[in-house]
């Protein structure tokens, strides 16, 4: 098995030399789809993601917000209108979880995207130019990495003020240092490579060297680490929602759905299980996707 994989990895490497970006994607997809767990993760995550963003087609937003006490605590499955039951205010749990997913997943994706771009810019500048710029950026990164991420995010949210956008900014500030460091290390490795030197000798501009020659070569591990952090970010947003930081009631968010039902979970267990399972399934599937991406994009990283 391992011999065979080594051989296929080798032939991939050879054929990649003349491959187009389309061909490169096909090789990647072939490797990725071999991994059953990663495929399962991708399917589950896509279902949750699409269901959340297509929520208006499934249930009306008012079902998630409007209180109707006469409908309270309907058990899941006992009513055709309320597939996942209702909470203490008679709000439909399915509507709350799906609309909550828009915030949890949407904010998670946005946070990771901001951190991804910020990390590339900071790490790229730091690694490519070196010198004083590098020292300053890296010292700031060290400093930010010296405190637990959740606490730093909370402090930044407090300084910026409440709001989902502020929460996303603060979380991406927390993620950025690690990302920047990784980009920097990768670029420093490549900075003196022969093909970069060659590009420089025929007068290529710095920006073109960075975007055309350096970045495509470090994209693989970068995408992997970004996907790996997405699960953590979703957990972090849920924690913040649970603590009531960033997201205001009655807007549903997975963590805040758990905290508002906390006193009733003891008697109506589904109130805890429904949002909890949605968080777990999305984080778990993201972890599988991350593992699959790592194996597909960077066979050297596989243990």
């Amino acid at each position: 098995m391992s011999e065979q994989m080594k051989a296929s990895a080798k032939s991939d490497r050879v054929s990649r030399l003349k491959s187009t970006s389309k061909g490169r994607f096909r090789i990647f997809w072939k490797r990725y789809s071999r991994n059953k767990l990663a495929m399962a993760g991708l399917v589950v995550f896509m279902i949750i993601l699409i269901a959340s963003f297509a929520a208006p087609l499934i249930v009306d937003y008012s079902a998630a917000i409007k209180q109707k006490i006469s409908n309270k605590f309907i058990q899941p499955g006992s009513s055709a209108d309320h597939f996942l039951g209702t909470d203490q205010f008679g709000r439909d749990m399915m509507a709350r979880v799906l609309y909550g997913g828009r915030i949890s997943l949407g904010a998670g994706l946005a946070t990771v995207a901001i951190a991804f771009l910020g990390g590339i810019v900071l790490g790229g500048v730091s690694g490519y130019f070196g010198g004083t710029v590098d020292t300053v950026i890296m010292r700031v990164c060290d400093m930010l990495m010296a405190i637990p991420g959740t606490m730093l995010a909370m402090a930044i949210v407090a300084a910026l003020g409440a709001g989902l956008d502020k929460l996303m900014i603060s979380l991406s500030i927390v993620l950025m240092p690690a990302q920047a460091r990784m980009v920097r290390a990768a670029i420093m490795n490549l900075r003196n490579a022969e093909f970069i030197e060659a590009a420089r000798t025929y007068g290529t501009k710095n920006a073109r060297i960075i975007f055309k020659h350096l970045l495509p070569n470090i994209m693989g591990p970068l995408i992997v680490s970004t996907f790996m952090s997405l699960g953590t970010v979703i957990l972090c947003i849920a924690s913040m929602g649970y603590l009531g930081i960033g997201i205001q009631a009655p807007t549903p968010e997975w963590g805040s759905i758990i905290s508002e039902n906390q006193s009733n979970i003891r008697y109506y267990a589904y109130l805890g299980y429904v949002p909890g399972i949605f968080i777990m399934l999305s984080v778990l599937s993201l972890n599988f996707i991350g593992d699959g991406l790592r194996d597909a994009l960077d066979p050297k990283m596989k243990n």
Binding site: M143, L144, G149, T150, A158, Y242, I245, I265, M280
Partner: protein, 306 residues
Amino acid sequence: MLKYALKRILLLIPTVLGITLFIYFIMSLVPGDPAAMLAPQEATAEEIEALRVSMGLDKPMLIQYLRYIWNVLQGDLGVSWFTKKSVAAELVNRLPYTLTLGVMSTLIASIISIPLGTLTAVKHNTLADYVVTFLCLFFSAMPNFWLAILLQINFSLNTGWLPAFGMGTPAHYVMPVIAVCASSIASNTRSTRTWVLDVIRSDYVRTARAKGANEVTVVMKHALRNALLPIITGLGSSFAGVLGGSVVIETVFAIPGVSTYLTTAVGVRDMPIITGCIMVISIFVGIVNLLIDLLYSVIDPRVKYE
């Protein structure tokens, strides 16, 4: 080694200064007047202005910051904007709970995860490996506050076995520690497995087997000992992770620690408390990281400090 330790402790100073400056800087970017927020509804503009001066908020950000650092050097972390109570005194009361929770969780996490990770590496691709790896994935995907609530309901509210809230007896620590360290056990077990697997395929392990050393010696002396360095490094960062995790757990179990202090302060934007908490936490994380760095030479005699 002492010189190295001293140097590292001195290096904590710029970190702490930088972190607090960063928070002051972000705060200064945001429009909005804390004095107006704090003043009573019927306060006149003059009264708000007087309040602003008394809080030192009329000065530029850098002056405010320097004044704050000057006070910190004298052991004064300021007073809460709302309750007017001393932040330093409150932190001294609250720190023992958070640190006990953090240290206990990190220790328990390492006691469980290192043997478990080694076991899964040795039993690579067997049923035991799959079961443990699956459990690790399961627990690392579980939100820790959700686990905490489930524990609280099942082991306390429904059965009465353990106290549900607060602090005091050792029994109070059981559920918070489990909730905090579950995810770090999961991630440390996985990384231990990776590192041991890495070593176990190396030539010197094969040589040790070839010369007829028994399996226990091979695993304990040759494989684990060489894999221990990165594993210990991982535990250091898990201390920071555990403290971060304790933010929610302290709220679930109503523990009067630093995290609950920080959480309530964030809700009302009580900046002196927030800066104080962050400063103290970053100092302790720095000290733990230093201790772990010093552990390196115990584990690996080749490590030299400069």
